[in-house]
Amino acid sequence: MYAESTAPSRARPALPARLATATVVLWLTALLATTLPWAGELPLTHLLSAFWTYDPEIYASVLAHFSWAPRVAMAVLIGAAFGVAGAVTQQILGNPLASPTTLGVAAGSQFGITLASLFLPGLLALSPDLPAIAGGLLAIGLVALLTWRLGFSPVTVILAGLVISFFLGAVNMAFLLLKGEWLGNLYIWGAGSLVQSNWQPFSELWPRVLVLSLLMVALIRPLQLLQLGDASASALGARVTWLRGAALLLVVLLCANVVSRVGVIGFTGLAAPVLARLLGARTLRQRLIWSTLIGSGLLLLADALAAWVSDLGDGSLVPTGTTTALIGGPVILLALQRIRNTHHMPGQDSGPSGFLPARRSLTGTAVGLGALLIALLALAMGWSPGLSGWHWTPVAQWGEAWVWRGPRLLAACLAGVALGLAGTLVQRMTRNPMGSPEMLGVSGGAALAMVVVTLAGLDVGRGGQLAAATLGAAVALGLLILLARRHRFAGNQLLLGGLALYVFMDAGLRLVVASGGTQATKLLTWMYGATWLVSETEAVALLLVLLAVGLALLAILRPLTILPLGETAASALGLAVAPARLALLLLAALLTAAATVVIGPLSFIGLVAPHLARVLGQQTVGRQLLVAAMVGAALLAVADYLARIVIYPSQLPAGLLAALVGGVYFLWGLSRHGRD
């Protein structure tokens, strides 16, 4: 009756030997790396006994007991905590890329502490955990709000987490620029340092980690049901919403407790469960156990490396958060290659869609926007604050004013156009309203190149910076193409590849910021889009690039309409899918790179402009492109103008303003939008 083709296998699937082997190798390497610096100083037995005692006569012994041993213990403890938290988060969301870092919890906790140290220092003295927990909850709440109606698909959730991280990061940065003198140390802490001077933090932390982890383990069986999808899980009697909420709360508590003590140690929570899964831990129980072991081993190794680099370097502190991020990037890439079925994960019941079919005429919208744009340009050229109050510059004098106000205004508008176009392309290609060129990693590549130049201490001038940024963007793009070719340039894989690039950028940035000094300030100013650095030739060059790309876009409009129907349908309609995607990808990357050198990598324009175009009733590709470009230009024109006048005679970076305003709109607009 049941004649099936597949051969029956009666053997129970065993845990692959490579899992245990890899874990043992990892731990041995980590232990070796952390004990090696003590080789000439203390015998091994004394080093071991440093965990509970010390000899006050020997300096090395005191050092080992009060600095080295608690640091090792802390690394193991925190690594284990993140391992558990990461594995649980991935199970809750049915998402192989979820982790406290990628969900924005860590950024949220950091944000909470920044706010508290600025406005409520008393609270911080009382308990640093409270603001951290509040911030973490805020971040995860925002992510939930964003993804509630868009469906909890893995990629959408991760993108929402990234958007929230970016946004909270931008707010943090605004505080840094405005009240920098207070927050310098916060940023060293924020980069995640495990340096210890006594056992107190460890003895405070371990009971909390233990209790929270045990609570998570108690939830293991209902959590297993989530693997069957919401419908089946609730049909089996699990209260899915309640369960998700409770488990996420535990994750946030665990993460906030760690972050409030040692700062953001990114990507252990992502790397450990992903590695465990890739090495063959199949069931939730196995994943929890092995993820814990791998997590602690990983962090111990990363911390030992950070300590080494700090010792070898010129005495500047290399935070552990940097080395873990350097490990996290490759792991994401690895996961990307191995985890194929991102399109068919449990929990992805509804695709990310939900745009209203409302349509309005193009002419009306375009004329309205055009008028708005012209009014904005006139305002920005004419109406400005001076030493003796606000005044209009007469039109006759605009020629002279152009030198000061023109290039930056033009460049800002053009960057807005580029980002609006690129954003529409990316969102259409990925069929995801959360996609954006910022997330494509191309901006990240450009930024990374700038970071490298800064780190190397080269003073290359503005031209050199531009060249470096373009090169970085090109390399990032090349990497993306290599990655994406395996997946025939499919959208979600692209976004995830971009995520990995972002991780690298993040690591480099933390390193620079932690090292402090004028270099860091310069880099930050550029990162957040200082338009006043733009010269007239650069603005004109940007204009030419945009004109060329605009012509190319006309040719590719129709393939862009067909592609979102899916690969099968598109090729059935006679479209060569891979070349079309490659062409679109190239165009999007070129646009992004052009915009990034002007406005920095972190504005939300590429995310917001296409979305606004749809809200304005432009649903077809061509119209959306046009209107998104105009919206982008208008938004950045406003940002640039405000950046010039808000704290006159000083200036704010326009990109930062755009990110703040765009972020707020995005949070509000997208959550409200889905509700209709």
């Binding site: 009756m1 049941y2 099936e4 083709s5 597949t6 029956p8 296998s9 009666r10 053997a11 129970r12 699937p13 049915g94 108690a218 939830l219 293991i220 069986r221 209902p222 297993q224 049901l225 693997q227 069957l228 999808g229 419908a231 089946s232 609730s234 049909a235 089996l236 009697g237 699990a238 209260r239 199949r282 069931t283 079925n341 068919h344 994960m345 449990p346 929990g347 992805q348 019941d349």
Partner: protein, 257 residues
């Protein structure tokens, strides 16, 4: 005999769209019922209401005389099992591990699995003919085997009722018949109440005791296969001119003119 499910004055609205309108129905215990209807007729929604996956906008549903509102989540899951239309990928779970999850409503988050549980799991696997596959990953099975694995999970759940949403729509004819035969046999052996959404009216008439048809959210026909398999009734359900023949007792063939 008392009704297993009792549906009274049920309406479901999503936004401005009315999906179901004033449905009054009861399902008897031990009966195999097919829900029929054109696409968008509301049959899947009715099944989801019975499975408590959806909440009714107005009206009431009760299970063995107790209103849905007063039944706990796991208590409900011990009585009613539900198989969604598109079960998701199971991410590496083996057949046996999947079936074992069916014991959750009985053991809860922390209760130990006893030998009784193991026996029930073994039996569910044997009943669905999956003995040779129990340590294979569900994702590597063929469509028919995968469907059987999920049904085995429902069996391990030891419910008195199975709600199946288009369980055969992705299968070929052979596996369609096998799956329905399996459901029919299990319903007899274990005295189960089964409500199944089906598209194929001939198969429904062949394997079910009762056919219930919806059209545009309203109940349009309800009766034994002999009552429903009739030219005018079928035309009313599907809205196309149809004919029907009885080839042998209990075996009908319907066709479109």
């Amino acid at each position: 005999m008392s009704a297993f499910f009792e549906v009274s004055n049920l309406s479901v609205r999503i936004g401005d769209t009315t999906i179901l309108r004033d449905i009054n129905l009861s399902f008897r215990e031990g009966e195999v019922t097919a829900l029929l209807g054109h696409n968008g007729s509301g049959k899947s929604t009715l099944l989801k209401i019975l499975a408590r996956q959806h909440k009714p906008s107005t009206g009431n549903v009760s299970l063995q005389g107790t209103s849905f509102r007063h039944t706990g989540a796991r208590e409900f899951a011990r009585t009613v099992g539900y198989l969604p239309q598109h079960p998701p990928g199971t991410d590496g779970l083996t057949v046996r591990e999947l079936v074992a999850l069916g014991r959750y409503p009985w053991r809860g988050p922390l209760g130990r699995y006893t030998t009784e549980d193991q026996t029930l799991i073994d039996q569910a696997i044997a009943d669905t003919g999956l003995g040779g596959f129990q340590h294979r990953a569900v994702d590597t099975l063929s469509g028919g085997e995968r469907q059987r694995a999920w049904i085995a999970m429902l069996l391990a759940q030891q419910t008195r009722c199975l709600l199946l949403d288009e369980p055969i729509s992705a299968l070929d004819v052979k596996h369609q018949v096998e799956t329905l035969r399996l459901v029919h046999r299990l319903a007899e052996q274990r005295e189960l109440t089964v409500i199944v959404v089906l598209h194929d009216v001939d198969l429904a008439a062949r394997f079910c005791d009762r056919l219930v048809a919806l059209k545009g959210g309203q109940l349009i026909a309800d009766g034994s296969p002999r009552e429903i398999m009739d030219t005018s009734t079928l035309e009313a359900i599907y809205g196309v001119p149809m004919g029907v023949m009885e080839r042998a007792p209990g075996q009908w063939v319907s066709y479109v003119h």
